[in-house]
């Protein structure tokens, strides 16, 4: 049984604590920052001409007279009951708005990451067989921001095919998946090329195989087996840039999805949507990070054993 399967109960416990702590930390930061804004919600609701007594009464009704920490606890309890507030722009509860769109964006994210792994594996092997391609180019391309790529793609697609996001949404869906596949693809390709070229510290097994004059395909098979946990780890890590890419592409291409709604909510200061979106993103990303760390620790142990 692989090492990382054996410690699952403990790992799940740590993960649960970590998600809880992260959610609490982010929630606290958001609440503290929102409380620091010099705007009185009671005054904003009643208008500038409202009577001071009426404003004070509403403040009491909204629970704003309570100490900061009590207000925060009440807010957290509301969040735990699924009450993220009401979006004034969508005229619906924030959680409903976000949850309606998350599956759509997640499917784009999943497709893009699958495509990315495929492209990355092909590129990684090609690099290995060609032994010429520099991974510096991969890293440099990996750094290119998604919104700049989305802007270029929008222009190129409109100029080449005369297709706008409204007239040919499928083309922009494909572009979104393609752009979001880049981080995963390049990360997988870089990792594979590092392991296959032996940039990583050489393992004893590989040295034995080389000394024993093993055929190339046996060495490659061995190296691929060695590279698999690292490849899984970078794939799990690339969920962050891939999600950023999907979010920006949905916004730039005006596609229906979480990204467009989240970024528009940020622009319009629609805090309930922003908080709901952030906490749901957190619930998605922390397990991915934990998986990546677990796999990294497996790699560390294997390398330590090999040396």
């Amino acid at each position: 049984m692989p090492d990382f399967v054996m410690g699952w109960p403990i790992a799940l416990g740590i993960l649960a604590v970590r998600i809880g702590f992260s959610a609490l930390l982010v929630a606290f930061a958001v609440f503290a920052a929102a409380s620091a804004v010099p705007v009185d919600p009671a005054r904003a609701l009643l208008g500038p001409m409202a009577d001071e007594a009426a404003v004070a009464a509403l403040r009491g009704e909204l629970g704003m007279e309570a100490p900061f920490i009590i207000q925060f606890m009440r807010w957290v309890m509301r969040l735990l009951h699924g009450d993220f507030g009401y979006s004034p722009f969508h005229q619906r509860p924030a959680l409903d708005v976000v949850m309606d769109l998350v599956p759509l964006s997640l499917s784009r994210l999943g497709l893009s990451m699958g495509l990315g792994v495929l492209i990355g594996a092909l590129l990684g092997f090609q690099t290995f067989s060609a032994r010429a391609f520099s991974r510096t180019l991969y890293s440099s391309t990996l750094a290119v921001p998604a919104f700049a790529l989305a802007a270029c793609s929008l222009w190129l697609a409109a100029r080449t095919f005369g297709a706008t996001p409204l007239s040919a949404p499928w083309l922009y869906q494909v572009l979104t998946i393609g752009i979001a596949a880049l981080p995963t693809g390049l990360a997988v390709a870089t990792t594979l090329s590092q392991w296959l070229h032996g940039d990583r510290p050489l393992t004893r097994t590989r040295q034995y195989l080389e000394l024993a004059g093993a055929p190339e395909h046996v060495i490659v098979r061995n190296l691929v087996r060695e590279a698999t946990p690292a490849t899984f780890a970078v794939t799990a890590n690339s969920i962050v840039p891939a999600l950023t890419a999907v979010t920006f592409c949905e916004f730039v291409f005006s596609l229906k999805g979480f990204g467009a709604v989240f970024l528009t909510a940020c622009q319009k200061s629609d805090l309930p949507i922003v908080v709901a979106g952030t906490l749901i993103t957190l619930a998605l990303l922390i397990p991915a990070q934990a998986l990546s760390e677990q796999l990294s620790s497996v790699i560390g142990r294997r390398l330590a054993r090999a040396h």
């Binding site: 920052a33 804004v37 890293s139 290119v144 700049a148 222009w155 840039p241 970024l263 952030t278």
Partner: protein, 273 residues
């Protein structure tokens, strides 16, 4: 230690020129950012590239080349400043972690750092921008973590090296050992990370400007120019194409320099071959 340091410098000779280029770029960006905002000339609205206006003019008749130049300079200036401050914060936190490796403070820093880095930088910065926090502060708070991670592991590793142990046996205080013995050897590992942080902060600044955050009215900005793709798109591509290409090239350049520096340092990825 001295021979190790000498070999570090020798192996660094090639990429160090790239760092001079970056330093010059920063000084230039600071100076260019001081230039006044372009004046709108209504009679020159939406002119294509010509000999007089190399990159054309925008809807208000402002020279796109001049705006791109100042916008890039401002984003670069802020990006480098964020990288330096968050780099220093990360270094101090890394030194504390290395001195108290796996201690309470180290674990607390790890928990906070892991939480912050679990999010896409831009999305988390957006979250806090929405409630009105200054973007530069937000990015500094978010971007110290990569530097902390690298400096923590590098300094902790170097503190266990024979020369550091010898200094401890000689009775030198830990702070001095860290400063005199380990830090000079840790620079080659830490600096590429600072550069990656500079690239990250540059991208985050441009992305936030692209969405309309942190933009000062009338001041040219790379993100605002880039966002014109959503308004003028095909009709006036000369407005946003230079900004897009510059953003992509600069970030690619940062990553390239960080990569070659990392490759050429002693113990870097190519040294294991």
């Amino acid at each position: 230690m001295n021979s190790y340091l000498q070999s570090s410098v020798a192996a660094w000779r090639a990429p160090i020129s790239a760092w001079w280029v970056l330093a010059a770029l920063w000084v230039l960006s600071v100076l260019l950012a001081l230039l006044p905002a372009p004046v709108p000339v209504p009679s020159l609205k939406l002119l294509g590239p010509s000999l007089i206006h190399w990159l054309g003019t925008d809807e208000l008749g402002r020279a796109v080349g001049y705006m791109t130049c100042i916008g890039t300079a401002r984003s670069l200036r802020d990006g480098f400043a964020i990288a330096i401050v968050s780099g220093l914060l990360g270094l101090v936190a890394g030194a504390v972690s290395a001195l108290r490796f796996n201690g309470l403070v180290d674990r607390a820093l790890a928990l906070v750092g892991d939480t912050l880095r679990s999010f896409p930088t831009v999305l988390l910065a957006l979250l806090f921008s929405t409630v009105g926090l200054p973007i530069v502060i937000i990015l500094i708070v978010l971007l110290w973590v990569p530097v902390w991670r690298v400096s923590r592991s590098t300094l902790a590793f170097l503190l266990a090296e024979p020369y550091a142990l010898r200094a401890r046996l000689a009775g030198q205080p830990m702070f001095l050992i860290l400063l005199r013995e380990t830090l000079p050897n840790a620079w080659p590992a830490i600096l590429p990370t600072v550069l990656i942080v500079a690239a990250d902060s540059f991208v985050a600044l441009v992305a936030l400007e692209f969405l309309g955050f942190g933009v000062e009215l009338g001041k040219p900005s790379l993100g605002v120019l880039l966002a014109r793709v959503l308004t003028v798109g095909l009709s006036a591509p000369w407005i946003w194409i230079p900004a897009t290409l510059l953003t992509m090239s600069l970030v690619g350049l940062f990553a390239f320099i960080a990569d070659i520096t990392e490759k050429n340092r002693p113990g870097g990825t190519t040294q294991c071959k």
